[in-house]
Amino acid sequence: MNRYLLPLLAVVIMIPILVMGLRSDPSELPSQYIGKPAPQFDLPTLKDATKRVSNADLSGQVSLVNIWATWCGGCRAEHPFLMQLSREQKIPIYAINWRDNRPGALAWLRELGDPYVASGFDEDGRVGIDWGVYGAPETFLVDADGHVMFRYPGPLNRAVWEREFEPRIAELSK
């Protein structure tokens, strides 16, 4: 009996570890900024290169920071939902237009609508790297003190919004 004990113990220990491995998505990188101040940024806006958008604009309110680009398929997919969100006026949406070209991005906003309070124009992608972005779209939830509360990689939609964002926003506005 004793000789089965060790292998059995090993299996019992390994199973939860392996199950955890199966459940986690290895391609999903957790943001390093959860609970920490949002990385500094100060960018010219997409619409007017003489104006700036920076961390200062985010403070005093719970807001979203959406990373998007015209080359990004997921961004097109989530755009109608972002338009809905902005119409509902639940939360101000700021954006970082990441590694894009200005005329193309402006045409996109004209064509599909502009859900953003302001889009920063991050032409060379440095702000994206500072924010730990690894693919577009990504959406950060930033609290009134400028701390990153949550980051969602991938396109937003109603289901993701209700599951991931609404409870967190409700928690913040308590």
Binding site: P26, S27, L29, P30, Q32, P39, R99, D124, G125, R126, G128, I129, D130, W131, G132, V133, Y134, G135
Partner: protein, 144 residues
């Protein structure tokens, strides 16, 4: 025939540099260039995982190469560059993660497993050694 094969092989070999991602040199100084190549080979491409940023054409890889080059030009040490990457992307971004509380298991696990395997091996060998050598001798003996 052999000539043709030789020619073909030569052409194939000549095309290899075309497959490289960064054909231009980042640094004139060979020592800096070597250091740069080591750094980019040890940095994981965050969007095309399982590739280093040296091997990837994704533009986030190009951006990270550019950032590493910039930091080197600014005179940052390898540790400071690793800090820069880990702050933004976590330990995952380094192919050789540093030994911290979070990555300790990664570093220790192989040795624990080797120890475990070694102990098991010794036990099995010892048991086998104490068994009779020939199958015939085993007749009537306990089968294991």
């Amino acid at each position: 025939m052999i000539k043709k094969i030789t020619l073909f092989a030569a052409l194939v070999l000549m095309s290899v540099p075309a497959l490289a991602i960064d054909t231009g040199k980042a640094f004139e100084d060979p020592e800096m260039q070597a250091r740069y190549e080591r750094l980019i080979a040890e940095t994981r491409c965050v969007t095309c995982q399982n590739q280093s940023i040296k091997d990837s054409n994704a533009f986030i890889a190009a951006d990270l190469r550019r950032e590493i080059r910039r930091l080197m030009v600014e005179g940052k040490t390898n540790d400071e560059i690793a800090d820069f990457l880990v702050t933004r992307y976590g330990d995952f971004v380094l192919y050789r993660p540093r030994m911290t509380g979070k990555t300790l298991a990664l570093w220790i696990a192989p040795f624990v497993l080797i120890l475990f395997g070694g102990v098991a091996l010794v036990r099995v060998v010892r048991r086998r050694m104490s068994m009779p050598l020939d199958d015939e001798d085993k007749a009537g003996g306990a089968s294991v």
